[in-house]
């Protein structure tokens, strides 16, 4: 079997009395889209922050490309080829779209002119070439999410971490975004996404991990996950799966 690009091994994190993550493990295979789902408070954001370097884990290893990167600051991870987006988009509001993307594009390109030119290419790749010279402050939520994605892509990553990149979008905006993310995967970039929008998870992800109370309670392809009684219970409460089965068979 191929060695996965990212392996999270027995990561624990405690905030005071709350065990946010309890020996959580998962892995993301190279060139695939892996989704991390779970109800509110499951520890998704904590896990994401630890992988992205903004939080150190209490225990455990984050192995990327065969190296333990746990605790490395975000800028070093970016130089290793790990890009991320923020759940709440963080544009450089004083700059244009092109200048925003150019900050990312500068990582592999020291020259200003090269970075600005590359920024134009990336903007077209995420479908917003038309907005290139607009001030970032004038973008709506959908525009900001695409900018977030474009900026991350501009650093030429191998691993892209997407933090609810579809949250806050309307259904037609989501339909517009799904092929963009798929095209990024098709270019060979490995994607790990945290997502609440199930429609997107089922149409995008090849492998899903379900997190609940800091542990992985299920994993597998999206359709198998949706039918897993543990997952249904995590979302709807204990006994819900049994009741659903019962009503399901009664109707049948």
């Amino acid at each position: 079997m191929v060695e996965p690009l990212l392996r999270v091994e027995h990561v624990s994190k405690r905030f005071g009395g709350l065990q946010a993550l309890d020996r959580t493990s998962f892995s993301a295979d190279a060139g695939r889209i892996t989704a991390l789902i779970g109800p509110n408070g499951a520890g998704k954001t904590t896990l994401f922050s630890i992988i992205a370097g903004s939080l150190p884990p209490d225990r455990g290893r984050i192995v990327y490309d065969g190296v333990n990167i746990a605790g490395e600051p975000p800028h070093r991870l970016a130089r290793r080829g790990i890009a991320r987006t923020f759940q709440i988009a963080q544009p450089f509001t004083g700059l244009t779209v092109r200048e925003n993307i150019a900050v990312g594009a500068h990582l592999p390109r020291p020259a200003r002119a090269d970075a600005l030119a590359a920024a134009g290419d990336v903007a077209r790749e995420v479908g917003r070439g038309d907005l290139i010279d607009r001030p970032a402050a004038t973008l709506n939520v959908a525009g900001r999410k695409r900018l977030e994605l474009a900026r991350a892509l501009a650093i030429a990553p191998r691993l892209l971490l997407l933090d609810e990149v579809l949250a806050g979008l309307n259904p037609s905006e989501i339909r517009g975004m799904v092929p963009v993310i798929r095209a990024i995967r098709d270019r060979g970039i490995t994607i790990v996404m945290i997502e609440h929008v199930m429609q997107a998870v089922t149409s995008l992800a090849e492998h899903v991990f379900v997190l609940c109370e800091g542990r992985v309670i299920a994993e597998g392809p999206p359709d198998a996950i949706a039918a897993d009684p543990h997952v249904v219970e995590a979302y709807l409460g204990r006994g819900a799966a049994g009741r659903m089965m019962a009503t399901g068979s009664a109707h049948a």
């Binding site: 800028h75 963080q90 450089f92 004083g94 700059l95 244009t96 200048e99 500068h106 020291p110 650093i155």
Partner: protein, 330 residues
Amino acid sequence: MKGLVPIVGAVALLGTVPLITSSNVVLNFLVLVFLIALVGQGWNLLGGYGGQYSFGHAAFFGTGAYVTAVLQVRYGVNAWLGFGIGIVAGGVVGAAIGALSFRAGLKGSYFALVTLAFAEVLRIIASVAPITGAGVGTLITLDLRPEALQFQSRAPFYWIILGLVGVSLILIRAIEDSRFGAYLIAVRENEDAAEALGVDTTAVKLGAMTISAAITAAGGCFYAQYFLFIDASIAYGPWISVEALLAPIIGGTGTVFGPLLGALVVKTLGELGKFATGDAPGLDLVIYGCVLIAVVAVAPRGIAGMLSDLRRHFLSPKTAMPPSLRRDHG
């Protein structure tokens, strides 16, 4: 490099002034304007481009002034060499204060307060340490020879400070056009996002503070050589920290010409104020305060920002957007 023409043009134009007039009043006035423009340009790099608001640029100004003066007076070092060492020393002090503050993660008003504290500590040390002449101050011996960086007329001083301003303008323009400059602006706009894009924000801020301090220190070196006297409250006093941030804020932070425009406006108003109030002590400061309030209210992006808004407004009224959404990308 784009944007070089206006800089060379402006400096060349200003360079002709001593050929037109030998009036000491005019030349002295412009020398002070350029001095503040230079000191303010240092602040502008760190505060205007990097978003790190220092309230203690006196620490660098004073270090430049004292190093230049003390090396000459006590160690017989050549004035030109002392000038250069003063600039380097200012940069070193900037790097040291920056390393301490940025590694401790100080931001916003905490950073401003700590820089103010460092400047005050240096002022107090300079007012008691024997090497600085303590309370008496340091007097540079009169020696009107170019080798000693002293001149009979004001014109050479004028060209030297104008040259320094010219160099600082070109340096800032070059930084604007570089990866370092893009990273510095990204730090100002959003540090977390910059960090995630591979920007070592601590290193970028430290670099900016070092260059910023060196530019401001050059102003201090010039001050010592021009007035031939400094004491602790001149060199490390809060007045210069205020001048350093007032000029770029009024002229337009994060713009190449902001500090020069701001220094020109502030000094002109100061002189007019002194003239109008008949030298009533402190009244010119009241005028400073009023101008600052007016600028913040009418043109939050300073004079340079207002000019570019006006230009855009008249060139393309259709694409005009609310000023709050715009920035100067020149």
